[in-house]
Amino acid sequence: MEILVCVKRVPDTAENEIEVNGDGSDIERDDLVYSVNEWDNYAVEEAIQIRDNVGGSVTVVTVGDDESEEVLRREMAMGADNGILLTDDAFEGSDGKGIATLLKAAVEKGKYDLILTGAQADDGAGQVGGMLAAMLDVPYASLVNKIDVDGDKLKVGREIEGGNQEMNEISLPCVLSIQTGINEPRYVGIRGIRKVASVDIPELGAGDLGVDASAVGEAGAKVKRLDYFVPELGEGAEMLDGSTEEIIAKLIEHLKAKGGLK
C-alpha cells in the first residue's frame, strides 16, 4: 500500500507556555520548542505499521520552510521512506483550504492508496483532511482510532462521544484523520536521525505543483486570523498562597466544607 502522511511542525504545548506577544499580533515565539504535531506522529506510526504488515511505502509531506524539513527527517527516522517539502513564499498565510489545495496538488503528483493526517493540529480546527478528501473526491473518516486492512477496503474505527467507537467500512483510496491513542508511536533516537540526515528531500514550489499562487497563501485565504488574545473568563479560581503547609491547611478546610473528605 502506498501511503502519504501529511504532517505539520508546531510549537510543542507540552514543552511551552503559549503566551500572546506585546501587540497581540502573534504568540511569543522566542525560545519556543517546536516538534511534529502530536496527532501526526500517531498517523506516521500507523502508516509504518500498515506498510510493515502489507508492504508498500510511506511518504511524509509538509507545507513549510527549511525548519519544517527537520520534522520530515524526524518522521523518516521513525521509518517513513520518503519526504516531500512543499515550500514557496506564495504559500505563506494559507488558510485550511489553501493547505488542502497544496496537498491535493502533491497527492496528484504521486499515486497513493491511503492518505493520513492528524485529527487536528495547533489551531484545533481539524479541517485539512476532510477538505483534502472532498477535493480529491475520495471517502473520508475523521478521528480514526483503529484501522484493519481488508483487501481493497479498510475497516476503520472512529472515536465518538462517550468513549464509544463507530465502525465503518471504507473503500480505497481514501483520506483518514488519525486520533491520538491509536498506537504507541516509536521512540526516535539521535542515531536514527543521523541515519537520515543526508537523505535528499525534494522541494516543490507553486510552479512545480501547478497551483495558482493567488488561490493559496495570504492572497487566497478567506479565513484570516486578526489577532491573539487571552479572554477574561469570569473571576477565575481563588488562588491559595502562602507556605505549602498553609496552602494545605486552607485546602483541607475547603475540602471538608464541600464533602471532599470521607
Partner: protein, 322 residues
Amino acid sequence: MADIYAYITHHNGVADDSALELIVAAQKIDAGAAVTAIVTGSGAELDQVADAVAATYPKVLKFGSDALAYPNAEVVRKLLVGVLPADAIVLVPHDTFGMDLAPGLSIKLDSTFVADVVDIEGVEGDALKVIRQEYSGMVSTHVSCDISAGAVVNVRPGSFAPDESKSAGGTVEDKSGDIGDLSAGRRFLEVVEAEVGDVDITKEDVLVSVGRGIEDEDNIEIAQELADAMGAVVSCSRPIVDAKWLEKSRQVGTSGQTVKPKVYMACGISGSFQHMGGIKGSPFIVAINKNVKAPIFQVADIGIEADILEFLPELAEAIGDL
C-alpha cells in the same frame, strides 16, 4: 444576507442540546434571520425530533431515508450538497459528527469553513467575525471569514446559552422526496460500546483526576495514594489513556466519561474544552498545576500553583494525619 441553516443532531429520538444553541449562534450572525433547521434520519424517531425542533425553529426541513438511519457524515454531506443553496450559511455542532461532516461539506458547496467557533461578534459587509481558541485553549483569536459565497460554521457545543423563553411554533416540511443518490464510499457497520472498567467514575462523589503533569506512569501511584487518603477514586484526562497508563473507563471528557462529582481535583490537567465537557453538575473544582496560565484556573473554584509531584504526597500525608 444568505439563508441560515442549522443541522440538528439527535440520538434515540431526542435532539441534541446543540439544537437550542445553534439558533442562538445564528441570531448572532443575523438578528432577524429566520433560521431553518435540517433534520435527517428515518422512521418515528425522525418525526419525533422534527416535531420537537419546530418549537425552536420557525421552519424545519425533514429528510427521511433508511440510508440516513445512522448519521454517516459521508452520506449526510451528499444529501446536503444536493438540497442546500450554494451560498447558504450552515451551522453545525463541532462534535465528532460535525468534525466528520463540515470540512468536506464546505469544499463541495465551494464556501468558507470555520471550525470550533466559541463566539460570534457579527457581520460587516462580507466578513463574519468570530472567536476561536488555539493551542488547547491557551490563547484565543478573532477570525474574519469571507462569507460572500456561503459558509459552513462549526459551533462548539456549550458555547451559546440556549434561550428557552421563546417558542417558534414552526412548521415541519417533509423533504424526503428531494433526496437524490446517497451512495458513498464509506459504510457504517456498528457502534462498539465503551468497555466497562473496574470502577465507575460516573458514580463517584470525589475524583482525583490526573493529567499530563503526572509525567510518568510510576507517578500514578501518587494520585492513588491521595485518593485513598480522601476516600476518592482516580480519574484522568486523555493523554494518560493515550499513554495507556490508566484504562479508558477512567477518562473524563467528551471522548470519555461524563462525571457528576461533588468535588473534582484537577491535578496537572490543563483543562481543554474536551476535558471540561465531561464534567457536569457544577462540582467544586480544585486545580493544581505548575503552569499558572493553564485554562483550568479560569474554571476552577480553588487554584494552587504547584508541581503535583511534590504537592500531592504532602497533601495525602496531611489528610492521613487528620
